[in-house]
Amino acid sequence: MAEFSAAVYQNEFLPDGGTDVNAIVTVTCQGAGTAGQSGAGSAGEIIIVDTSGSMGPATMAAAKEGAQAALAEIVDGTYFAVIAGADRAMLAYPQVSNGPGMVQMDARTRHDASTAIDRFVGSGGTAISTWLDLAGQLFSSVSAVTQRHVLLLTDGENRERPGRLDDAINRATGYYQADCRGAGTDWQVAEIRRIAQALLGTVDIIPSPAEMKAQFQEIMRNAMARGVADASLRVWTPQGAEVLFVRQVSPTVEDLTNRRTPVNPLTGDYPTGAWSDESRDYHVAVRVPAKAIGQEQLAARVQLALGSDVVAQGLVKATWSNNSELTTRIDQQVAHYTGQAELAQVIQEGLAAKAAGDDATATTKLGRAVQLAAETGNDEATSKLRKVVEVDNEETGTVRLKRAVEKADEMALDTASTKTTRIRKEPTS
């Protein structure tokens, strides 16, 4: 049985008249087990492989091998299906035209699915909305499946009337999760990130076909380790308070603020998807009415809820003090993740400006990114930034845009922008 715990890192002391409370809440899950094995319902996995005409022979071969490797990671008994995606979505396996669109994994179905994947041929365009919709239909055709996960690989830009993809994302949001990968450099990071963020998954670039197999294996292994099918971050705030934002900040930055589902007038749920044995950090910012010096109050109860059961709780407090030594301290964790969230933002804005030809803005934003990456000890971001800009001075964030930049390096910087690093934790209370 999975066990959750929550720890809060904050400076609870507010100056006279202070209203804004920031806290990092670390939620840890242990003993998650394996997807679909808790007895509460079955797990379902759908692998979507782009089979549009843009897929070159090497990429297609690697994608087939990757998808087959992913099949090997799916635990026997798990419901699964394979979709070939082009200007429309085709159910490659199981080959049925009505009834349940997924079958349970065993040696025979694994072999048959592999054979179906072997027959993939690239042709046609890219209409990702149809892929997402078919996945949703397949999941809903097997009522036993309660934990739904998609692995999506594409290599090109979506070629659909604007709005179609967003509508399909909306239909899938809250129904299934999706980890997305882009092969090569002809796909749009922002587009695929939109899918992954809405569907509580990851996004990354697979620059060379050689890396495909390992990436697929890892994604599927992680998916299978998620023994807790679904959970919500439940945030209670007192009467008269305002939630400024709720953000996942580790392992990646994901703004959840607008994804609140009200539980009651003071409480809302934010989606977190499935859990494996892992630890995630959330940054919760709440504005409360100021109280008198010496008063203490609760600014938020941050809980992890499985359905209606609250399985962990962290208390975010506010205490008004006239001791400036107490009130001016910024919690190390809060400072760190505030910097990391800004880092993600300035990388994305900088690259967007660069793509739009606005070199001045790009230089400023990416300079700030270099500075933040150094300050917060994000070595991965630092090394990826150095492939895009020449760094004159890390401390001041003085940089120049490199003249010749590999497209893949730029995309890798973009996809990794939301990845954060952690710092050692010392409880504040």
Partner: protein
């Protein structure tokens, strides 16, 4: 052992959870009552009359609070994590804020105060069911620079309450004999408090717990009081002249006696230095005892300096009682605590009240004239 409220690990013998402040089981929390053995009987060898020993005359303890009180701020329900489920206000632990109401006409509130870290005041009350029959108000103020004075003051107050559970003795019938017997009982009550404080003090404590002591007993129309330190008892008649019954054992009081104005003395640097206290390093545990017969309706108040700091003169306190405008002793105690918190709340606040209702015919001497009340006992222990 883990906290039943937040699951945090608990130190052995802990009375409160260090993590969430939840009060732990009564067995862990209640100080052991000090049993007065036959050898040191509360009435000692003073002559006693048989009726005072009737067990039926012993007053019962106030009822335990029923569940968690609603939030003091908004009236909302308080969650298991001890914060209000509506407004998030931290509910005080039972030690930081408690109320006792042994009978509808007697109640007290003992509160940490907004500017203070913990509640070192203590209170223990008793009352007969019939209004005006018999009430015991004990207030103790743990000295804040001594160790564990919060534990000590509560143990002391409850030990003294045991001694005062039975009606005061009537002596052999003469006023002198009665006064001597009463003084003996109140002295024994202070001694029991002292014994309890010493019993909970770590023998190795470099700074042993100490506390003030004030007890006010109402029996019919007679108030009897005893005092050590600077907690006080007041008689606050509805219409007549209010009086401070106790005389502080403090530097400020000594200065007042030497002619310094009260306001100057009570705000000076030594204002809160007391010259007598209970505890292991106490040199004199004999209280000052006195009594007063009242002839009109009003309030008997026992309080700590957390209240009188903001209304020291009897008239000022009486004004606060009038401003509260309530005949309910618990509502009045809460109002006085709120007044002290609103005035600064720099020290723990205790206010214990008994309502005296005189409905009989007004005596020929008149009920507004303070001179009609008779003072008995001794003004000091000299």
């Amino acid at each position: 052992m883990n906290c039943p409220s937040c699951s945090a690990a608990l130190a052995p013998g802990a009375r409160f959870c260090e993590n969430c402040g939840a009060q732990l089981g009564a067995s862990a929390g209640a100080p052991a009552p000090v049993v007065v053995g036959a050898g040191d009987h509360p009435l000692g060898d003073a002559p006693i009359s048989a009726p005072t020993r009737k067990p039926a005359a012993a007053l019962p303890d106030p009822p335990a609070p029923a569940g968690r009180r609603p939030c003091a701020e908004c009236g909302g329900e308080v969650g298991p994590d001890l914060y209000c489920l509506e407004c998030g206000t931290k509910a005080p632990s039972e030690r930081d804020h408690f109320q006792e109401q042994p009978a509808p006409w007697v109640a007290g509130v003992c509160d940490k105060a907004i500017r203070k870290g913990r509640n070192e005041d203590a209170m223990a009350l008793l009352a007969g069911a019939e209004p005006g029959s018999r009430a015991v108000l004990i207030v103790m103020d743990g000295v804040s620079n001594s160790i564990d004075s919060d534990v000590a003051s509560l143990a002391g107050a409850r030990a003294a309450r045991e001694v005062l559970r039975m009606p005061l003795p009537a002596g052999m019938g003469t006023p002198q004999s009665r006064d001597a017997a009463v003084r003996k009982v109140l002295t024994d009550a202070a001694a029991a408090a002292n014994t309890a404080i010493v019993a909970v003090t770590d023998p190795d404590s470099p700074n042993p717990a100490s506390a003030t002591f004030t007890a006010a007993v109402l029996e019919g129309r007679r108030i009897t009081w005893a005092n050590i330190g600077d907690s006080r008892s007041y008689w606050l008649p509805d219409a007549g002249t209010p009086v401070q019954l106790t005389v502080d054992d403090s530097v400020a009081q000594a200065q007042i006696a030497a002619g310094v104005a009260r306001e100057v003395a009570e705000t000076g640097p030594q204002a809160h230095a007391i010259t007598k206290w209970l505890g292991r390093d106490s040199e004199d545990q004999k209280p000052t005892v006195g009594s007063l017969d009242v002839a009109e309706s009003g309030w008997l108040l026992a309080c700590s300096d957390g209240l009188w700091n903001y209304a020291s003169e009897p008239d000022a306190l009486a004004a606060q009682v009038r401003a509260a405008g309530t005949a309910d002793p618990l509502a009045l105690a809460l109002a006085l605590v709120a007044f002290a918190n609103a005035s600064g709340g720099h020290d723990n606040i205790t206010a214990a009240l008994a309502r005296v209702e005189v409905t009989g015919p007004v005596t020929a001497l008149g009920h507004n004239d303070h001179s009609t009340t008779t003072r008995g006992g001794e003004p000091s222990d000299g």
